[in-house]
């Protein structure tokens, strides 16, 4: 019965080891998917390489379907899985700032760290920028505290606010993603660039 952490108290070293191993899997999957290349990542926003879109949505959907199936089969208690807290203003403003950072730097924090590990110098600079960003946030926290905590909605699930069952909502998401994949592959042909794999 999962999550294991709810029925079994990990000793500290085991918890740290589990975190490390999950991180390893995370980094491995990111690197194999091509997320260690900023040009591949940024390519999504110009239509010439939609790898990000495909990997990102496939991953989210696999986890979404998998967790619900496991829940139905009695293997995973979804009440014990963390649901992100919804701070409306912070989510939107933060997301917009992140989008700007994404297109400037070509990485997101996870992919930046992953790219750093294979020796990308730009990724190292990106992560250094990230550390600076975290520091700036901490120092400026008193100024933006109000925005960060505004319009708190709690850990809400989107299907519940829409009044749909989670299964039905998942089906809609998957159908939308399938359509998106199809469009993405059309776009790749339309905005094709000379193959940059060799340069990466």
């Amino acid at each position: 019965m999962g999550p294991i952490s709810s029925s079994f108290i990990f000793p500290e070293w085991l918890e740290m080891l589990a975190a490390f191993l999950i991180g390893t899997g995370f980094g491995f999957a990111l690197e194999q998917g091509g997320f260690s290349s900023s040009r591949k990542l940024a390519g999504m926003f110009y239509g010439y390489d939609t790898t990000v879109l495909k990997v990102f949505f496939t991953a989210a959907i696999v986890a979404l379907i998998g967790s619900q199936l496991m829940s139905y089969l009695g293997l995973l208690n979804l009440n014990q899985v963390y649901v992100n807290e919804f701070y409306v203003a912070a989510s939107i403003v933060g997301g917009v700032i992140m989008g700007a950072g994404f297109i400037m730097g070509g990485f997101c924090p996870g992919t930046g760290i992953c790219a750093l590990s294979i020796g990308k110098i730009d990724a190292m600079i990106f992560v250094a920028g990230g550390l600076t960003g975290a520091f700036l946030f901490a120092e400026s926290y008193p100024l933006i505290q109000d925005l960060a905590n505004a319009s708190y909605r709690g850990p809400v699930r989107i299907n519940e606010s829409l009044g749909l069952s989670s299964g039905l909502f998942t089906l809609i998401i998957v159908a939308a993603a399938a359509l998106m994949f199809w469009i993405a592959e059309l776009a790749e042909k339309r905005f094709a660039r000379p193959d940059i794999t060799a340069e990466i």
Binding site: S6, T58, Q68, S71, N79, S165, S166, G167, I173, A178
Partner: protein, 201 residues
Amino acid sequence: MRNKITILLLSLSLILALLPLTANRSFTEKPGKLLSDVLDEDVTFSVDQVARFIVTEDSTIRIIDLRKPEEFRKLCLPGSVNLPYAEFIGTDPDMYLNNRNIKTIFYSNSDLDANYALVYARGLGYELTYAMEGGMTEWMNTVMESKFSGERISARENAVFEIRTRAGKLFTELNSLPESEKVRFMESKKFSARKLDGGCE
């Protein structure tokens, strides 16, 4: 590859959409085992045993009051925490029962709610859960109205009587408090629901 994975994910989510799925959980214990567990005698404590826990301030025991908040404010066992039964089954009990070193005793006014809660908690795998026999009614009858009767009293009876008197005194003191003071006292003993770990906080 795209087609394969798309088809696979689409059909899996189609299965999901057809299931009467909720994000909540069902009992995890096997029915047969659960039944024999809860019909066992050791899933209940008598009011005398509970009185002893109260008097000795046993820290391995937590008493949960399943009655409505207004009833709780009017009358409650010393050291108990209020968690109305409807709320108990409406939320994930892990927030209240996840401590594996503490025994939880449920009580209500009679036997019904406490025993529902007992089976509910045990069915979800919380083994250290118990019910107080007879509930508040039994407490009032036995502990509060206990009197010497007969001429000779055995040592054992004397011990029971002693506990009852002391528990009764604690109970009377607590419940004789003016409403406002009682509320203040109870606020300090409210459940602080455990938050789940996660996110990037």
